[in-house]
Amino acid sequence: MPQPDETPSRVHDLFGTFLGAAATGILFSSPWQVDTSGPDPFYKGPLIYPLTVLGLIILASLPSAWRLVKAHEKATWKLDGGGFPSKPLVIFLFLIAFLCGLVLIGLRVSCLLFIGGSLYYLEHRRPGVLILVPVIMTGLIYVLFKFFLDIWFPTPLVLDWFGG
């Protein structure tokens, strides 16, 4: 299969091989992951389609696996010169914390902390941005989701703990 990049990066092949390996694992564990005890014949059953699809993934990953093993002499691990994704990684951790925060400390506080913390980390530290953006956005989200859409949000666990 043709490679679109002028200097092939092995990261592509590693990722492709990883997907192929994961599909192989899932394919072999399929009889345990899918309940096939029903009376339907195989062609009507729940397994025919996923097995076909997993087979397609494995087949499509073979060129990547081959290139990973037999690397092109010019191939490097360099991807796009963008470096290690430290900022997205930290924001990803913030996102997980935000989700946990929704249960622990509630919508308003977690929104404020997530937006404020992220802006601080991304070096937007002018008071106008660091204070106004989180406060306005939290207010907007609260009004929009709580009052306009009437969405139920979990009661903060912290309140439960301290409220007995």
């Binding site: 699809v53 499509a60 924001i91």
Partner: protein
């Protein structure tokens, strides 16, 4: 028939629908202007809010973003040579040289006029072509539907054939993800890995919002995509005197609209091809082809006419066959099915009011987008000065709370975060992410039709080859795989020699 059209006009002129399409168009233009976001991000962020609306209002809102995005994309392309949406890159070929010569208003007028005429022409083609295709599709059974869906999937894969194995990998991944959860016909749990939450399957909203919304914003956090210093615009509104001169390119306007609609009709081809084809057609038929690339309004007009005709073109297979042409219409398909409406040949018969409301709404969206941009050109253009990192954090927060609000399940928000990371990886690797979404959306249709067809054929796949329409579609599918590969091979050989 006429009664349904009148009811459709009435429904689309209801205050709620008008407000939705106006707001959607506003958001669409804004996200179209901001490079690195685009209509997909706008659509997925507003997707959770659509569940409180009626299907026609929800679709008007999302169609407003879909169409408005293409209108907005031309502005930074002309003023800064930075396309707001990928297809506007073609607009920048002539738009930016016009700006450099101090004739930005000529470029913007041509782009806006091209967008408007392209959009309107495509809506008329949609109105006339959809019933014809629906009539043909009315004779479809499961094997024909399976073949048509397979044709759509193969077209998408072949559109990215320079990354064939990667495209197939992502398509397969999307198809597999659609199998997670309880299997409808047999009620067997599949690939739930012991998780009760996974038994409900993966919802289209968190998957799309994660891949496009969160994935794209993680890229925005990392890279300063916007070029804010280059933005200059002296007038607040469009220079209306420049609009009139575009009428001398009336043939280009019509041609671009027709080309864009038919390109949009084919799954996987996308708006970039529509822009390029319209631009090349205008160049070939122009009295002065050498002016193209040097700054001619005709180039902007052709390119924008082509890409603005794509949304209505993409609606034709979506409404008549239930097969989305691209990721944006795949999200629209999700909205249809969530509301219990299943696009297909019978949709035009069963839901005539909804269909006519959609037609009129698409027409109105083009009018609203034209007026908005003509009157508020500079305020819209200044949107590009918003800091991308601040914007990214706002989009992420809205996305996560929005996803939670759809089913009040934190699990969905967690799925969106995982999909966001996958989206980020795929965007950085520059893999064709659209294949994953198309696989996920079409997976259910493909599986259902495959199993129904095999049941009809008592387990034999011969059923796909003994029915004339199904066989015809399969042969066409084989041709679209073989011909481009053979042509590519010949081209490579010619280049090598």
């Amino acid at each position: 028939m006429f009664e349904h059209v009148l009811t459709g006009i009435q429904a689309s002129l209801q205050p709620g629908n008008l407000a939705a399409l106006t707001f959607g168009t506003f958001v669409g233009i804004a996200v179209g202007i901001i490079p690195g976001t685009g209509p997909m991000v706008g659509m997925v962020v507003l997707l959770p809010f659509t569940f409180v609306f009626s299907p026609s209002t929800a679709l008007s809102l999302l169609l407003g973003i879909f169409c408005g995005g293409y209108y907005g994309g031309a502005i930074p392309a002309i003023l800064m040579r930075t396309p707001g949406v990928p297809s506007s890159i073609v607009t920048s070929f002539d738009g930016f040289p016009l700006t450099q010569r101090g004739e930005a208003q000529r470029g913007l007028s041509a782009a806006l006029m091209g967008s408007f005429t392209g959009g309107i022409i495509s809506v008329f083609i949609l109105i006339f072509l959809a019933p014809l295709l629906a009539h043909v599709a009315a004779s479809f059974g499961p094997p024909e539907y399976f073949s048509a869906a397979l044709f759509g999937v193969v077209l998408v894969v072949m559109a990215y054939r320079e990354q064939l194995s990667r495209g197939l990998l992502l398509l397969g991944l999307g198809l597999w993800l659609s199998t997670v959860g309880i299997d409808g016909p047999t009620l067997s749990p599949r690939y739930c890995f012991g998780s009760l939450s996974l038994q409900n399957g993966l919802h289209v909203v968190p998957v799309c919002l994660g891949l496009f919304g969160i994935g794209q914003t993680l890229i925005l956090v990392e890279r300063q995509i916007l070029q804010t210093k280059a933005m200059r615009l002296t007038r607040r509104t469009l220079d209306f005197s420049k609009l009139v001169e575009n009428f001398r390119y009336w043939k280009t306007m019509i041609r671009a609209g027709v080309i864009g609609t038919f390109v949009g009709l084919l799954p996987g081809t996308g708006s970039i091809l529509a822009s390029f084809m319209s631009y090349e057609a205008a160049k070939k038929t122009s009295k002065d082809p050498s002016a193209f690339g040097q700054g001619t309004p005709e180039g902007c007009l052709a390119s924008e006419g082509g890409n603005n005709a794509v949304p209505a073109g993409a609606m034709i297979p979506l409404l008549t066959l239930g097969i989305p042409g691209d990721a944006l219409s795949a999200v629209l398909l999700g909205v249809f099915t969530i509301n219990g409406i299943y696009p297909g040949p019978l949709l035009l018969v069963k839901e005539p009011v909804l269909i006519n409301t959609l037609y009129v709404s698409m027409f109105l969206i083009n009018v609203v987008a034209f007026i908005m941009l003509a009157l508020w050109l500079r305020p819209f253009a200044m949107i590009v000065k918003i800091n991308s990192a601040v914007l990214a954090i706002i989009i992420m927060t809205l996305s996560l709370v929005g996803i939670y609000s759809v089913n009040t399940r934190l699990f969905d928000a967690a799925v969106a975060i995982v999909m966001g990371v996958l989206g980020y990886i795929l965007l950085r690797l520059k893999w064709p992410i659209v294949n994953l979404v198309m696989g996920f959306i079409l997976g259910e249709i493909l599986e259902q039709r495959l199993r129904e067809s095999l049941s009809l054929g008592e387990g034999s796949p011969v059923i796909f080859f003994i029915r004339p329409i199904s066989l015809g579609i399969i042969l066409l599918t084989i041709l679209i795989v073989v011909i481009p590969l053979v042509l590519d091979r010949k081209r490579r050989k010619r280049t090598a020699s």
